[in-house]
């Protein structure tokens, strides 16, 4: 007798616990406002990406096409993956002095792990992370970027 009681009790327990769970799913079925799913490619315009999001390294230029990078290569030394290559050149200033200057700021996006250590190490705060995140391309070569714009110069010290 007891085993029959246990048998039906187990069936009752199974159905009641199933019903309890289904109640919750049903609750969300009739409350569509609580649903959090986003329709991603369609909501690109309203998508909120925080400012600090580490998308890719950029070298900001101002309106005179000037940047802050002195070519000290500290970011290159601090990068754990070798995704940064700074190419410098020797130039002669109008006063006749020899000076090292940034030639090309090469950034391999395909090697970057977005750890942010280059930004952390830069003494001039010349580079920063942008929050662009849609990086997929068809050609691998596109992922190697030169960040300084052609003809850009080092911003001279504040007068």
């Amino acid at each position: 007798m007891n085993s029959i009681y246990q048998y039906f009790r187990a069936i009752w327990y199974g159905f009641s616990s199933l019903w309890k769970g289904m109640m919750l799913t049903g609750h969300y079925l009739v409350h569509p406002k609580k649903i959090l799913t986003e329709q991603y490619p369609e909501n690109r315009d309203t998508l909120y990406i925080p400012d600090r999001f580490q998308g890719e390294v950029v070298l900001p230029h101002d309106e005179n096409n000037e940047h802050l990078c002195t070519g000290c290569t500290i970011c290159e030394m601090n990068c754990p993956n070798g995704s940064i290559k700074i190419i410098t050149q020797q130039v002669v200033t109008p006063e006749g002095k020899k000076k090292k200057e940034l030639d090309k700021w090469v950034y391999h996006l395909g090697l970057c792990t977005f750890c942010g250590q280059c930004i952390d190490a830069c003494p001039q705060d010349a580079i920063k992370m942008s929050n662009a995140f849609e990086h997929s391309v068809y050609d691998r070569k596109v992922l190697t970027k030169v960040l300084n714009q052609p003809g850009s110069k080092l911003k001279s010290a504040k007068k």
């Binding site: 309890k20 959090l36 500290i74 754990p80 952390d120």
Partner: protein, 369 residues
């Protein structure tokens, strides 16, 4: 095991490396007699990346980002362990503000980790909807991380001397909102899964791990605590001001699957308790002790242990005074917790294997490193 003769009804099957219930690339070799498991043997190394060896080629500040890739659900705690070990060598201490931020971040990631575990456990046992409910709150935590740290999973936020950035202005507001929502929603977890007849039948009394086994196999974290072993590093060897916050070390002496399930749910409540205590009391001041550009540890050995979401993580650094470590060794919790699988599986039915692995909460990249 290799020398064992196969009897007539015995056979060997391989579970994984592509089996969905192994949560990664773990291969289990199971010796079966019909449905009963005679013996098991895990095969590792499918996702070995050589993080320990790679660390020897990188500087002290640089190799920390690699540890986020070990146990990716406890990335903050892994970074914290390395930072604390390096701080030990440099004899500096993070400012009070940084310590509180670290504890807050660690507890938030513990919450996120346990939520993902809860969802994945439901998925393993055949219930799909818990996964979505778990991700609802986890998504909020990841958004908080994204705003303050810049990434969602592999943060690289905790650094020797403090934290990289100060907290985002919205941090306190968002965490309070999260806590409020989480407290309102925790009962849904019980309603949806805990009381469910299928979950009860598949977890209660299944996968028993005795306290003796847990100690001798080196299990830590929720796995050992569910067998009644006191092993919370936050209580035993407090770091970063865990001795100043008031929380309980949750223990259970049953040692079965349900004990581990119950314990993680209870641990989430304790994490909420820690966050509630700290969120209004973040001290003002500097968030980072400025270190030199190239950090050099004095020659010697440094060890630091930290409680991650899965157990005790130990970081052992040997320095010979150069700018790179001579040797870095990680004692990861999942590797030891995996050992518990063999005594649990012996004599069990093959259908219970999935629920045992689900409650062990294994992260395979942490086992292989």
């Amino acid at each position: 095991m290799e020398t064992k003769d196969i009897k007539r009804d015995e056979f060997v099957i391989n579970v994984g490396p592509q089996h969905p219930s192994t949560h990664g690339v773990l291969r289990l070799e199971l010796w079966l007699d019909g449905e009963d498991i005679i013996d098991s043997k895990p095969h590792l190394g499918y996702i070995h990346r050589g993080i320990e060896k790679m660390s020897e080629a990188l500087g002290y500040k640089q190799f920390i980002y690699l540890t986020s890739r070990m146990d990716y659900l406890s990335a903050h705690m892994n970074n914290q362990a390395c930072s604390l070990a390096i701080e030990k060598g440099l004899q500096v201490e993070a400012p009070p503000r940084a310590q509180v931020i670290r504890v807050l971040m660690a507890e938030l990631s513990r919450l996120a980790s346990h939520q993902l575990w809860w969802g994945a456990l439901g998925l393993d046992l055949g219930a799909v909807s818990p996964f979505f409910y778990a991700f609802r709150e986890r998504e909020m935590i990841l958004e908080i991380f994204e705003e303050t740290c810049g990434s969602r999973l592999t943060m690289n936020y905790i650094t020797p001397g403090g934290v990289v950035n100060d907290l985002h202005p919205d941090f306190v507001k968002k965490v309070k909102k999260l806590i409020e929502q989480l407290k309102g929603n925790l009962h849904e977890y019980d309603q949806l899964l805990t009381g469910n007849a299928i979950l009860q039948a598949r977890t209660r009394g299944v996968g028993k791990l005795t306290a003796e086994d847990a100690i001798s196999l080196g299990c830590t974290g929720p796995v050992a605590r569910a067998s009644g072993v006191k092993c919370d590093v936050r209580k035993l060897h407090p770091y970063d001001g865990y001795d100043k916050v008031d929380f309980e070390e949750v223990l259970n002496d049953k040692g079965d699957n349900f004990a581990r399930y119950w314990l993680r749910i209870a641990e989430m409540e304790q994490s909420i308790r820690i966050i509630e205590q700290l969120i209004d009391n973040i001290p003002e001041g500097s968030y980072r002790e400025k270190l030199k550009g190239v950090v050099k540890l004095p020659a010697g050995e440094y060890y630091q242990r930290v409680e991650t979401a899965r157990g005790e993580l130990g970081v052992y650094i040997v320095s010979d005074g150069k700018k790179e470590p001579y040797r870095v060794r990680f004692r990861t919790p999942n590797f030891s917790n995996l050992n518990a699988l063999r005594p649990m599986l012996k004599g069990a039915k093959i259908g219970d294997m999935v629920s045992m692995m689900a409650t062990l909460d294994l992260i395979i990249p942490d086992i292989d490193r």
